[in-house]
Symmetry: C2
């Protein structure tokens, strides 16, 4: 394998450990009172008979001989990759080795699927050293399999028990951590001493609550997208003739779009949660952006940059209703519909067979988007929202609005989508350090036999030495939600709060950003050099925690 120069240097980077966990011979865990989930206490306590309401685990100074107990630990990396996953493994491995030289670490390949397939590798110090401070999940690969059926739980139990593991770490997002809680419960219920600890990962930033300040990977992904957005903004003020419509990842929540907006000060940023809360229509969104295009034109500014969260269309109430009706229609009249080949006829057929309100919405959509709503369906017959070119959708409705107004305004849209570009970058110094501390905290929790916990680190706005590490029971973050027609326990996704400080800050600035040439150019992530450039957390985190 050939390594780039940066790659070679990153392998040498030494993340700082928070002071209070650095000396494992002077730590123990102080447990708080029994906890409660915010809602659905009854259902959750039924489902998690052995692990519901566990106490919060505070790591404090003290002695605890368990830290040196013999551990055979497994782990999985689950879901979409996020920068820093390898450092979680490095922190976990280094902790295990500090605890007891005989300890073992095994990585199951390609997510939970590796547990079911009993496909694992032993993690050696050589392997760890080759992956320190690097991006990606390629050390063992990732996967999206969930352990759901009774049979799958039994298989997982069999394989984990056969490998004599007494600890498991699940690195993943809300779904994977829910799975970790279910595994913790299952193993406890079946008399296993294997403990399960979760680690909060997702570039989307929606695994966040009063205990989890941020999920790892969010920092690096946002900084990578912001680099590119800044570069495009500088291009916009140089070329002075393009309107760039930039979609950024984030299906469920708009945290990435909001953070990128805070870092780059674009002309406009759509926040899906605001669209939903205000029940904005397609026409209103178009009108709001068209107003800005026209106003800027009056000042000679025939350019701009608009940020769009990937999941937008499902947050526009009328489009959400339309998608629901389309899914129903095309499922029930599949045969009839499939005989129609021309788009105009398909459109007519659809409009005759859905509600009047939805038909109006459908007719108003740009043709290319209407076609995507009809064509790109997932295996369950649903609209494949991630395939919708939301960036073309938004520029399309803005263009239509400008034409409707009869104003003569030059408007040349250019489209971009940033997603895969930011998931596997070399983790920022923040994510490198945060992930290393998360992995090390996971080791402490599992050594001290705490199960059903997720690693939580607070004070992230401060220098890493001052961070406070601990564990919080996963059940505290859960509620019951309908999934495929059944009520299931899940960790609630954190959407952008329109009353929260990051959004409020954006709201207070956006009129100014829309009217001016006030772009900010963050530039590429820097790993060496001044701390103000290299070590800052996200603006979202700073606004939320200060």
């Amino acid at each position: 394998m050939s390594l780039s120069a940066l790659h070679q240097y990153r392998l040498q980077y030494k993340p700082v450990l928070p002071k209070h966990i650095a000396d494992i011979d002077n730590i123990t865990i102080e447990e708080g009172a029994k906890t409660q989930s915010a809602v659905d206490q009854k259902e959750l306590s039924e489902l998690f008979k052995h692990t519901y309401g566990l106490p919060i685990c505070k790591i404090t100074a003290g002695k605890n001989a368990d830290i040196h107990r013999a551990i055979r630990c497994g782990f999985i990396l689950s879901g979409g990759p996020a920068a820093g996953g390898h450092n979680v493994v490095a922190g976990l491995y280094d902790g295990l080795m500090k605890g007891n030289k005989e300890n073992k670490l095994y990585g199951f390949r390609c997510g939970a699927g590796g547990i079911l397939a009993n496909d694992y590798i032993e993690i050696t110090s050589e392997l760890v050293d080759k992956h320190r401070n690097t991006g990606g999940f390629d050390l063992v690969g990732s996967g999206r399999t969930k352990i759901e059926t009774e049979e799958q739980f039994a298989t997982a139990f069999k394989h984990i028990t056969a490998l004599k593991l007494n600890a498991m770490v699940v690195v993943g997002g809300d779904d994977s951590n829910t799975n970790a809680a279910l595994l913790a419960e299952y193993f406890a219920a079946h008399g296993s001493d294997c403990v399960f600890v979760g680690v909060p990962k997702t570039i989307d930033g929606d695994l966040k609550n009063q205990y989890i300040e941020t999920s790892f990977g969010f920092d690096t992904a946002c900084k990578t997208y912001s680099e590119l957005i800044g570069n495009i903004q500088r291009d916009a003020i140089s070329s002075r003739k393009y309107w760039h419509f930039i979609k950024v990842m984030g299906r469920s929540a708009s945290h990435i779009a909001l953070e990128a907006a805070l870092e780059t000060q674009p002309t406009y940023c759509i926040i899906s949660e605001e669209v939903e809360n205000k029940k904005m229509t397609v026409n209103q969104i178009a009108s709001e952006i068209a107003d800005i295009v026209v106003e800027r034109h009056k000042k000679g500014l025939n350019f701009g940059v608009v940020l769009i969260p990937e999941g937008l269309v499902e947050f526009i109430p009328e489009v959400k209703a339309l998608i629901k009706e389309l899914n129903n229609l095309l499922a029930h009249k599949k045969e009839e519909y499939s005989k129609i080949t021309e788009f105009s006829a398909q459109k007519a057929f659809v409009c005759e067979n859905i509600s009047e309100g939805c038909a109006v919405t459908f007719k108003n959509l740009p043709d290319n988007i209407a076609k995507q709503l009809l064509l790109d369906r997932d295996p369950h017959g649903n609209v494949n929202v991630s395939a919708i070119e939301t960036e073309s959708f938004v520029s399309g409705i803005v263009k239509a609005e400008i034409i409707k107004r009869g104003v003569k305004v030059p408007f040349t849209p250019v489209h971009h989508f940033f997603g895969y570009e930011g998931r596997c970058a070399f983790p920022s110094n923040f994510d490198s350090t945060y992930c290393y501390a998360l992995g090390y905290t996971a080791f402490i929790l599992l050594a001290l036999k705490k199960t059903g916990q997720i690693c939580c680190i607070s004070g992230l706005q401060k220098p890493a030495e001052e961070w406070i590490c601990g564990g919080v029971p996963l059940t505290i973050m859960m509620n019951m939600e309908q999934r495929n027609g059944e009520m299931k326990p899940v960790i609630k996704k954190a959407l952008v709060e329109t009353e929260g400080k990051p959004f409020k800050f954006y709201q207070s600035k956006r009129a100014q950003w829309a009217s001016a040439e006030d772009f900010v150019f963050p530039g590429a992530i820097q790993y060496f050099g001044p701390s103000e450039v290299c070590d800052q957390p996200t603006k979202t985190l700073l606004l939320e925690q200060n």
Copy 2:
């Protein structure tokens, strides 16, 4: 204006000047013999009566009082922006100030259009300091206007003379530097003492020859794209299920794709010039990539990364022929064609009206590409090649080939296009230093009254202190080419040479890269830190110069 932390630090960066030009009181110019263009000497010497065959200007140690002469200098930034343009201005400005504190610098706004509109600003030290080592051309904006008609030359003469300019710097690509040569000739022919000096800019890297080792902006653009390609490659080996088809800028030449391939070692990289030289068909390209997809599948590697140069389709001989026939057909039978609205009927109409060979090519194209060839036409009625989704085209023909073979291979393509993302990044240390030296060299040439020259710096593979700066007459690089039906003098674009060292190196490695997981992850451009990470030129330059 709010500045990011990196932005603030970059303003402080001090590019090193090549030693032999640093002390302006110990330089003079040694002129070589009269020069010749490689071809079309007769036509060019007719067109450039006053400036044809000028000598090469070598900057040597010595005395020349002209260095302190009073200068009123103008400049334009022309064409697509490229990282480092602001440092050309900084180097020029600093040189002018060293020469004579009374010297003046004026920037015409938005390219040559600013000369015609007499729209300029005075460049102050405050303005320069705000733009040092930053990306973009926003200091004065850029534009694509060329000065072509006799009336335009007269207007340019009037405005430049009225402003009492005795020097002009043209920062641009091959077309803009051709324009600089024509202006130098026009002014000389009309008795003006205003000298014209060109600076080689273009991210595409196609303004390159035995005198110009590289154009500025190429380094930063390639490194930005390589960062993203590396991130996507790391995603590919983590997720293990996507084939990424990545189009990179470069309409005329594949230098960017090739450099990005050298930096990242992708699964496959198409080089347009090879396709053209080997007269490859669409089917051959599809077949070559499909072979790799199938071979990798056998090893369990259902993923890969394919790089595609933006201009590919025009280099595939059969597609080039098809586009020519389509342009003719749709120009001559416009009315008849415009009445047909359904695609299947359009397709039939086209196939009846073009040659049999082209009809076969057309029928073989994926529908979305065939549609783009029919729909997206530029104002002259030509196919708008830059609007063709070449990345979808390539994945489409590969998919069709896999289906044709009847093999069962998972193949999930994901598409990307990187262009605007890399034109206005903060210039790499290389581009910052190179551009500063180019601007400073421009000052020396114009102070010493050398016109019709382009700044050339050689030895770029060595530390900046050792670079050798000078001027080369623009006419030496010219030939006559047909443009819009007329023979025009132009600087020859440098395509990728399939016998050149960079391509040969790629060729020697590509079978290995195609079969393995040998990706390289360059990471983001670094501005601080170890020199191996921060200061290296492109692999293309290193291979060509060493």
